[in-house]
Symmetry: C2
Subunit: 321 residues, 2 copies
C-alpha cells in the first residue's frame, strides 16, 4: 500500500504530460498553462486511495483520476471568470492571462477531454462511473449557482449554506473516493460509507477554511487573513455570527459590511470572538470530522488499509487533539 | 420508414419536455428558456435517420439524439457570449436575457446533462458512441477557436477556411448520422460513407449560407442580406474574391472594409459579381453536394431507404439542377 505522499507522486507522474494536441494553440495552450500552475491534486489522489482501500490500484484508476482532475480544473477556469478572480495560486487566471472567450472555450474543451479519459476505462465499469461522474458534475454546477445566488441574498440559513458547500466542494471529493472504490470492487455498502466519509470531510475542510481565513496564523495559512471579511463573504462564521449576535452586535456587523472602515477586519473579529464564533466553528469542524471518521470506521476492510485515508484527513484537517 | 417531417415531429415529442430539475432556478431556467426558443433540430433528426437507414429506430437513438441537441445548444449558448450576439432566432440570447455568468454555467450544465442522456443507452454501444461524441465535441471546440483566430488574421486560405467550417459545423452533422448508424447496426464501411455524406453536405450548406447572406432574396432568406459584408466577415465569398480580384478590385475591397461607407454592401456585391464570385460559389456548393450524394449512393442498403436522406439534402440545400 502506498502512502498519501507516494500516491501524489504516482499521480503526478501520469498527469504531468500534455493532455491536448498542439493545435489550435489558442485553444489548448491556455488549458495546458492552467494545469501547470499546479494544485494539490487531492481529488485524483482520493480516487487512487478509494481504489487501494479495496485492492491493488488498477490502471483504470489513473484514467478516472485524470478525468476528475481535468473536470475540477475546468470548473476552476470557469469559476474564475464568474468570480472575476485575477490570480490563482499567485499566478494569472486564464481569463486574465488570455481573455474571457479563451477561458470559456478552453474550459469547455478541458471538460470534453475529461470525458475522453473516462472512456478509456474497461467498459464493464463505464456506465457506473459515467453515471456518478455526470451526477457529481451536475451537482458541482448547482453548488456554484447556489454560491452565486447566496452572494446576492441578504440572509442565508446555515443548512442552506452547508448544502451549497456540499454541492460545490464535498460531492466531488466524495465521488472521487467512490469512483476509486468502484474500480477496486467495493460492495455498494462500503462505497456508501466511503462516500459519506468524503462528504463530511469536505464540509469539515470548508469550515476550517472559513475559520483560518478569519483566525488563521498568516504565516502558516499562506494567504491574506481577513479576506473573506473584507469582501463581505457569507462564510460559516459570518452566518453564525448574524444568527447569535445580539441586536447591537448585529447592527454593528451590518454597518461594518456596508461602510467598510479601515479597521473593519479587527472589529468584525472582535464581534466574532465576543459571540464565541471561533469556538463554535472549531466544534462544528470537529463534528463533521467525527462523522467522517465514523464512516471510515464502518467500512468493512481491515483497519490497516485505512491508514492512507487517515493521513489524508490529517493532511486536510488540522485536528484538535 | 418515416419521412423527414415525421422524424422532426417524433423527436419534438420526446425533446419538448424539461430536461432539468426545477432548482436551482437560476441555473436551469435559462437552459430551459434557450431550448424553448427553438431551432430546426436538424442534428437529432439526422441521428434518427442514420439509425433508420439500417433498421427500425431503437429507443436509444432518442437518447443519443437528445444528447446531441443538448450539446449543440450548449455550444450556441457559449458561442453567443463569445460573439457578443444579443439575439438568436429573434429572441434574446442567454447572456443578454440573464447575464454572462449565467450563460457560462447554464451552458456547462447543459453539456453535463447531454452526457447523462448518452449514459442511458445500452452499454454495448456506450463506449463507441461516447468515443465519437467526445471526438466530435473536441473538434467543434477547435472549429470555434479557428473561427475566432481567423477573425483576427489578415488573410485566411480557402483550405483553412474549409477546415474551420468542417470542424465547427460539418463534423457534428456527420457524427449525428453516424451515431444513428452505429445504433442501427451498420457496418464500419457504411458508417464511413454516411459520415462523409454528412461532412460534405455540411460544407455545401455553409457555402450556400454564405452565398445567401450576400445574394439571397431577403424575403426568402428570412434574415438581413449583406450582414456578413457589413461585419467584414471572412466568408467563402470574400476569401475567394480576395484571391481572384485584380489589384484595383482588391484595393477597393480592402478600403471598403476599412471605411465602411453607406453603400458598402452594394459596392462589395458589385466586385463579387465582376469576379464571378456568385457563379464560383454556386459551383463550389454543387461540388460538395455531388460528393455528398456520391457517398450516399455508396452506402450498401436498398435505394428506397435513402429517400429521407435525399429529402434532408433537399431541405438543407436548394439544389441547382
Amino acid at each position: 500500500m502506498k502512502s498519501f505522499k507516494e500516491l501524489v507522486a504516482s499521480f503526478a507522474e501520469v498527469f504531468n504530460v500534455s493532455h491536448f494536441p498542439k493545435e489550435p494553440a489558442g485553444l489548448y495552450e491556455p488549458a495546458d498553462y492552467f494545469l501547470t500552475i499546479g494544485g494539490k491534486r487531492i481529488r485524483p489522489v482520493m480516487c487512487l486511495m478509494g481504489n487501494e482501500l479495496f485492492g491493488e490500484i488498477v490502471p483504470d484508476a489513473f484514467h478516472v483520476a485524470t478525468a476528475i482532475e481535468l473536470f475540477h480544473n475546468f470548473t476552476l477556469v470557469h469559476d474564475d471568470i464568474m468570480d472575476k478572480a485575477s490570480l490563482r495560486r499567485g499566478l494569472p487566471t486564464v481569463h486574465t492571462k488570455y481573455d474571457e472567450n479563451t477561458a470559456i472555450l478552453s474550459g469547455d474543451v478541458m471538460m470534453v477531454v475529461a470525458y475522453s479519459y473516462l472512456n478509456k476505462i474497461n467498459v464493464s465499469y463505464l456506465s457506473k462511473i459515467l453515471g456518478l461522474f455526470n451526477r457529481t458534475a451536475r451537482e458541482v454546477c448547482e453548488g456554484q449557482q447556489l454560491d452565486v445566488d447566496f452572494e446576492r441574498r441578504n440572509s442565508v440559513s446555515l443548512p442552506d449554506y452547508i448544502r451549497m458547500i456540499e454541492l460545490k466542494t464535498s460531492v466531488l471529493l466524495a465521488a472521487s473516493l467512490r469512483m476509486g472504490a468502484i474500480l477496486g470492487g467495493a460492495s455498494e455498502g462500503n462505497q456508501n460509507e466511503l462516500y459519506e466519509f468524503g462528504r463530511n470531510l469536505g464540509i469539515a475542510f470548508q469550515v476550517q477554511d472559513d475559520y483560518l481565513d478569519a483566525f488563521g496564523d498568516p504565516e502558516k495559512f499562506g494567504k491574506d487573513v481577513g479576506g473573506d471579511i473584507r469582501q463581505n463573504k457569507k462564510t460559516f462564521l459570518m452566518l453564525h455570527a448574524l444568527e447569535v449576535a445580539n441586536t447591537q452586535q448585529k447592527n454593528e456587523l451590518l454597518s461594518l459590511m456596508e461602510e467598510n472602515p479601515a479597521d473593519k477586519v479587527e472589529r468584525v473579529l472582535q464581534i466574532f470572538r465576543d459571540c464565541d464564533v471561533d469556538g463554535w466553528a472549531k466544534s462544528l469542524k470537529q463534528q463533521y470530522l467525527d462523522k467522517s471518521m465514523k464512516h471510515l470506521e464502518d467500512i468493512a476492510v481491515v483497519s490497516s488499509r485505512k491508514k492512507p485515508l487517515r493521513e489524508l484527513a490529517d493532511f486536510l484537517i488540522q485536528r484538535e487533539h
